[in-house]
């Protein structure tokens, strides 16, 4: 399977932050395995020794194509290593935050030309620079250039999508809360899953606010002893109570928890208004949404009482697809095979979900057979694995730069 998951040299390269996957880099798809990094054809690492006052590179030239730098910090301070364009400004690739004694790899794709290498012990100043020549090996290289604009567009479009979803979430939450406070349980139950879909579509964004996520979306099992339970799932249990051993909330308690839900959602809306996104957040966000499906929805853990897990599943999938769609033109440019794989597998998961539609919604999780759950799980895994390489592929297309420097979203 690994060969198919790493369908092209570019993708394998992009995935290989460390040396382990490098065996896939220059092998053809039919022979690539996840085996040893010493396999024939692996580009020999160019070693870089960064000390407090020197930046020793094992060679001053290399053939064009995949360049693999093994950077060791032999100094006493935190260091960084850069591959810069001939102008000494444009960042082709970089690794940052290398602690003393630590080694880290940098894999870049370099066209023929003159480059500047720089170690930056202490992370300040221009660093210790040297010139590096890349000779023409005849290797095909990923086109670069206009991808920058594509990425900027993707990021801007995603921001608009998040704003729209948060707006709909807030409006829907108010309607849901009003019905619940008024004791109109039928209406509240009908609104519960569709309104939550706005949350689920942008879950990684919502979860990025570590304080809001638990008060809005904690499940009972997430709590510690003595902790107040608020948010969606508190109301879920009250609307779909267990058959025995449960005390319903009083009207006053209903109002308290519903008002808080609205207020906390308003806070979420206020905070997302100021958010900006990076390309790696789009790529990682898509993967994280599928992780949510794999760990929470496939198992029926998310909606313990309402069993509306498939609504969340659909929303996670849509959210991931929006993130991917933004980056798709970029992926199409650098790795058309990955784009085809992702398109096909997104469609396959959607086709399975479509079979489980019931009216405006879906069948409930507790009505699914073991075989249906297994089929969904397999389709999600088949999509998630190549999707996990999206970030690295997009960053590769972006040509390193500031996006690489930013820590991955979590």
């Amino acid at each position: 399977m690994r060969q198919r998951l790493l369908p092209s040299p570019v993708l394998a390269l992009a995935a290989a932050a460390g040396a382990v996957l490098l065996a896939g880099c220059t092998s053809t798809a039919s022979t690539a395995t996840s085996g040893s990094a010493d396999a024939a054809g692996t580009p020999a690492a160019i070693t870089v020794d960064s000390t407090d006052d020197a930046c020793t590179v094992s060679t001053a030239e290399a053939p064009s194509g995949v360049l693999h730098f093994a950077v060791t910090n032999s100094g006493s301070d935190v260091t960084e290593f850069y591959v810069l364009g001939a102008d000494g400004l444009q960042v082709v690739g970089e690794v940052e935050n290398i602690g003393p004694g630590i080694s880290r790899d940098l894999v870049v794709q370099a066209a023929p030309g003159t480059y500047t290498l720089a170690c930056k012990p202490g992370m300040t100043g221009d660093g210790i620079r040297s010139t590096f020549t890349v000779n023409d090996s005849g290797a095909d290289l990923t086109p670069t250039g206009p991808t920058g604009e594509l990425i900027a567009t993707a990021v801007a479009n995603y921001k608009a999508y998040v704003d729209d979803q948060v707006g709909q979430l807030l409006a829907g939450t108010k309607e849901f809360a009003a019905a619940y406070i008024a004791g109109d349980d039928a209406k509240a139950k009908a609104l519960y899953a569709p309104v939550r879909m706005h949350w689920e579509r942008i879950e990684p964004v919502a979860e990025s606010f570590g304080d809001l996520d638990p008060i809005l979306d904690a499940r009972e099992a997430d709590l510690e002893e003595g902790q107040d339970w608020t948010g969606w799932h508190r109301i879920e249990k009250d609307l779909w109570p267990p058959a025995s051993g449960y005390t319903a909330l009083t009207p006053a308690e209903r109002k308290t928890v519903a008002d808080k839900l609205v207020a906390d959602t308003q806070t979420l809306a206020d905070r997302t208004a100021d958010l900006t996104f990076r390309v790696d957040q789009l790529g990682n966000g898509a993967k994280e949404l599928l992780d949510e499906v794999a760990t929470g929805k496939i198992t029926g853990e998310e909606e313990t009482w309402s069993h509306t897990d498939l609504w969340d599943f659909q929303a996670n999938l849509e959210g991931a697809k929006v993130m991917y769609a933004g980056l798709a033109p970029v992926v199409q440019r650098v790795d058309p095979e990955l784009a085809t794989t992702l398109d096909t597998r997104f469609a396959a998961v959607q086709a399975l979900l479509d079979k489980l539609r019931d009216g405006d919604g879906f069948v409930y999780y507790d009505a699914l057979s073991a075989d249906q759950i297994k089929e969904l799980a397999a389709a999600v895994d088949a999509l998630s694995e190549p999707l996990s390489t999206l970030t690295a592929t997009a960053l590769q297309a972006a040509g390193g730069g500031s996006a690489v420097a930013s820590p991955a979203s979590s």
Binding site: V78, G99, G101, I102, M123, E224, N284, I298, L387, P407
Partner: protein, 420 residues
């Protein structure tokens, strides 16, 4: 007890072994034994002593742990079981079959005393460690079945509910506990099987767990092994040569106020499923940020090598800490836990697959401490609240056991002072 040493059997009936060799299978077995380093499979650990073995003992490669529920309410039955277990444990850890007649020497019309699957195997460093659950002293309904409620050690009880726990009650808790560790899986399984057989009528197996690939190190001579996330785990463990650390953090001391436990310890058990499929789709950057260490060397992200003291104050670009504050290491480190440490003795496990095409795998966490309520509970609470790793794990089980001091010698048994 005239048990015959399995090793004596091996050498004593060498002619028989040689004749078996002609068919090939025996030849392979014998060749393997002679190639193995004697220390790896032939080592033995004394069952008797001031402390039970299997706590600071250098970790063997295989684990079979089990918890039992008592089916009797007779204190005498309970004592007899602990006596029988201790005698069987002494025989098995010495490499001997159990029972008067062992596996093949008894009356022809009776089932053999020993089940026999470990017959040709050396002691394999087997250790058997016996524990007592809080429910032995008082059930969750408050019933004192054995007149032991007033002997419950201060500060000892069931572990509290931690945030994000998704526990399966059927594999939590237990009245009695046994941990069998050995260099051969079959020897460890033989020990638990023998215990279960001894217990019929008195206690029944509540849950049991196989583990492999020790995921901790309790000897400073061993290198740190890797867990199923691919990271070195438990680098900063308390090791057997750290006498002060053991007295401070592992062995119950006279001043702790529970005389019958002096020289013993307490054990926290947590079965931690790893969602390894989502982990494997995570970037190396995120993986290292989760642990706070590099994957290759296990160095703290602040620099140095594996055993370099982490510098949590070190910052990188934009002043962000090199070791994320929500990384596993930052939260589990003694500096974040009032200096408290525990002795980790965790094993990797794989229970086949989960029916959804994913490996049912993770870490079977065993942590020993002098006082769980001070050393373990606050740390686990901190981890359950904030650990960046939580996204990739599920806590499936939870149990606490009192691990009494060792049995003094032949005729003595684990827990003897509790019943005195």
């Amino acid at each position: 007890m005239t048990a015959v040493s399995r090793r004596a059997l091996l050498t004593g009936i060498g002619v028989g072994a040689a004749s078996v060799a002609a068919v090939g299978v025996g030849a392979a077995a014998i060749a393997r034994q002679s190639e193995d380093e004697p220390v790896a499979t032939g080592r033995t650990y004394d069952f008797y002593g001031a402390h039970q073995a299997g706590i600071v003992t250098p970790m063997q490669d295989h684990l079979h742990a089990a918890a039992f529920d008592l089916t009797t309410t007779s204190r005498d039955d309970l004592v007899r079981l602990l006596q029988a277990w201790s005698a069987a444990a002494a025989a098995m850890t010495a490499g001997s079959p159990v029972g008067l007649y062992g596996a093949v020497n008894g009356p022809y019309d009776a089932p053999p005393d020993d089940t026999g699957e470990a017959l040709d195997l050396p002691a394999s460093g087997l250790t058997i460690t016996i524990g007592l659950g809080p429910s032995l002293f008082r059930t969750s309904d408050g019933v004192d079945r054995f007149g032991l409620a007033d002997r419950l050690p201060a500060g000892f009880g069931p572990l509290p509910a931690f945030p994000r726990d998704t526990l399966d009650e059927a594999i939590c808790g237990g009245d009695l506990f046994v941990q069998a560790c050995a260099d051969e899986a079959q020897v460890a399984v033989h020990a638990v099987r023998t215990f279960a057989r001894e217990a019929f009528g008195t206690a029944a197996v509540r849950w049991s767990q196989l583990g492999f690939g020790r995921s901790s190190v309790t000897s400073s001579a061993d290198s740190t092994p890797r867990n199923l996330f691919g990271f070195k785990d438990g680098t900063n463990n308390i090791t057997s040569d750290d006498a002060a650390g053991l007295d401070d953090f592992v062995w119950v001391q006279p001043e702790d106020g529970t005389d019958w436990m002096t020289g013993g310890s307490y054990l926290a058990v947590r079965k931690i499923r790893m969602t390894i499929e989502t982990w494997d789709r995570t970037s190396l950057r995120e993986q290292e940020a989760v642990f706070g260490r590099t994957k290759r060397e296990g160095s703290p992200l602040s620099g140095g090598t594996e055993h370099t003291v982490p510098d949590f104050a070190a910052t990188g670009r934009d002043g962000a800490p090199l070791i994320p504050t929500d990384s596993h290491m930052a939260l589990a480190h003694p500096s974040a836990n009032d200096g408290h440490r525990i002795l980790r003795r965790a094993y990797n496990y794989t229970d086949g697959s989960d029916g959804l095409g994913r490996l049912e795998a993770g870490l079977f966490f065993l942590g020993y401490a002098r006082d769980l309520s001070r050393q373990f509970v606050p740390m686990q609470l901190r981890l359950s609240r904030s650990d960046r790793m939580n996204e990739y794990v599920r806590y499936l089980s939870s149990a606490a056991f009192a691990i009494p001091p060792g049995a003094a010698g032949p005729g003595g048994f684990v827990g003897e002072r509790l019943f005195a």
